[in-house]
Symmetry: C2
Subunit: 356 residues, 2 copies
């Protein structure tokens, strides 16, 4: 079959890591007889430099015409002096909204071989760590009304956190479905003791739970969740939360794995369409130097095969290949440790291809 | 001199720990010739049970008439079935607003003697940990307009995050003053790449920095801050942030010390008025059993002496006494470890009194 993929390499190490993911996808294509067709488009700083705007209409159009999007990274110090609302990162928000990517899946997985990089004590993460944060991605305070008004205390700026029932329901359904495929345990994180929008969130999630009698649902306040993530992360399996709380909590969850250079993500729309990208940033200091770790992007490509194309065997293959390279001792600089085999970006990609 | 203190023991272990703080304050009074006068009032679940509302007007009046407030804890499973907006915790929000407590100071301190309780690896916290989170406490999404409206996606609930220039300026001043008394290093945490209110926050903090040329100011996004708190907390000294981000970040910071039962807090108004309370909750399961750790409340009383009454020598004395009890090996159940001396709530209070 023919699969159309929009490539958005973006900035910094984005192009480096996307190139390796393409190599890996092609290897999978050869092995299984699939045809992956790519169209590369600009977004972020690269688009600002070339066309004066971070998210050109053509980029949106090409993404919409494709079956899936693979993104590298956007942003970098080069554009950090631009006003906040003109930064490259705005391209991400634009893509999420334009493509209807309401469900962000972020696995926080501890790779056994890299366990020593975890900042938590060994006894806390004994037996591994395997959490998926399901973050709402097109609603809440990110996309609510915002602006300025005059008040007694001077000019004020505001942002509206808002959730409608249907917005909550659809993300809850994604999370419950995910829980059913895993350990049937879901934690919904909110701030229902303070926020009206959280109270609605909680009631819709509770309502949705009726369709999933096998899933054990619990609710937790965001402040407590941020603590529990450090104290005892193994209590979590699937977490579902709002856009802003998910931003914070998924980053915290990534960090406790100790290997942010390894973590993929998927942002899904209704149907099978999705955008896939590594959790790490654009790391402009090492761009183009064959130093970046391509594994998070390669694992993002695996998520693409699984969620958008329904090719789970192929996805398993990629994941196994990454694991094999780690087991052989292959390490890019970010995860290097004494006695291991140092690999550049390209060599890491080659080894993963070889393992497929 | 005569100092008037409103006592709000609250729920669960609140009364247990406040009683010990009073013992300690009285010991300080005897030693230095101060007179502390107490008036005890109800708030939280205790007030709901006795008077049908979590924050009776009389409680507010008595607090306002006093020089400072010492609070134990509010809330508990007994009242957990009440609708969110009638829970005991609402009393906290009410007190903050009514008393104008806009600046919440939360030290996250690693007690050397309890370092093994820290969930982070020893190398990450080597040399100790000493952070103060300055959280804005009477603004933002906690107190912005909230409600319901109809939308295309069904009924929606909303909460407005809003900050006025003056609200940001006054909390920034508290944080810069704090930085000047410490290591002249301040991190302002926001989400200026997404929120208009964060952009205003950032510009006012930057503006305020001009009055503190010696302070090294940096800005960090909340998602990154939540990561850095785990990866390398020692990079932080004073942190200033909004109400909701401060709620999350200060709890995370408390947790990485590993000893939440030891951490005090201060909530300050304009002038010297303040409310002081431990960071831990009401722990209803051990209420009245002489098992609670009173040290956080006793250290909160020390903060009261320092910030509201200007009695820093006396405050130092209390802190030294708590430290002495730890050094002697005295431990309440929450911080007990093999080979140490087990203490009940009262015995811990007595030992601290003896050390004064
Ligand atoms: C860059 C920023 C706008 C973005 C977000 O806040 O969503 C990022 O932090 C993320 O999590 O993808
Ligand atoms: C109980 C709750 C309303 C409160 C808050 O969110 O401020 C608590 O978490 C705190 O930090 O004091």
């Amino acid at each position: 079959m023919n699969y159309k993929i929009a490539l958005v390499p973006g900035d910094g190490i984005g192009p480096d890591v996307v190139a390796e993911a393409v190599k890996v996808l092609d290897a999978v294509g050869v092995k299984y007889g699939h045809q992956f067709e790519y169209e590369t488009v600009l977004a972020g700083g690269a688009a600002i430099d070339a066309m004066g705007e971070c998210l050109p209409q053509n980029t949106i159009d090409v993404c919409k015409k494709s079956d899936a999007v693979l993104l590298g990274a956007v942003g970098g110090w080069k554009w950090d002096t631009l006003p906040g609302d003109q930064r490259p990162e705005r391209a991400l928000l634009g893509l999420r909204k334009e493509l209807g990517l309401f469900a962000n899946l972020r696995p926080a997985l501890l790779f056994e071989e890299l366990a020593e990089a975890c900042p938590l004590k060994p006894e806390i993460i004994e037996g591994g760590l395997d959490i998926v944060v399901v973050r709402e991605l097109t609603g809440g305070i990110y996309f609510g009304e915002k602006g300025y008004k005059d008040t007694e205390l001077g000019r004020a700026a505001y942002d509206v956190e808002q959730y409608a029932e249907e917005e909550v329901r659809r993300i809850a359904v994604v999370a419950f479905d995910m829980a059913m495929k895993r350990n049937k345990k879901l934690t919904s994180v909110d701030k229902a003791n303070v926020l009206e929008s959280s109270r609605l969130w909680r009631s819709v999630v509770t309502e949705t739970a009726k369709d999933y009698p096998e899933v054990e649902l619990s609710h937790m306040y965001i402040d407590n969740a941020a603590m529990q993530m450090v104290r005892n992360p193994k209590q979590f399996d699937v977490i579902v939360t709002s856009n802003i709380f998910g931003d914070i909590l998924s980053d915290e969850a990534s960090m406790i794995t100790g290997s942010i250079g390894m973590l993929p993500s998927a942002s899904l729309a209704k149907g099978n369409f999705g955008m896939y990208e590594p959790v790490h940033g654009s790391a402009p200091d090492i761009a183009g130097q064959n130093k970046a770790n391509p594994m998070a992007t390669i694992l993002s490509a695996a998520m693409m095969l699984r969620y958008t194309f329904g090719l789970s065997k192929e996805a398993d293959d990629i994941e196994a290949a990454v694991k094999a390279v780690l087991t052989q001792g292959g390490r890019t600089p970010d995860i290097m440790s004494p006695g291991k085999v140092s690999l550049g970006t390209k060599e890491a990609g080659d080894r993963i291809v070889a393992a497929i």
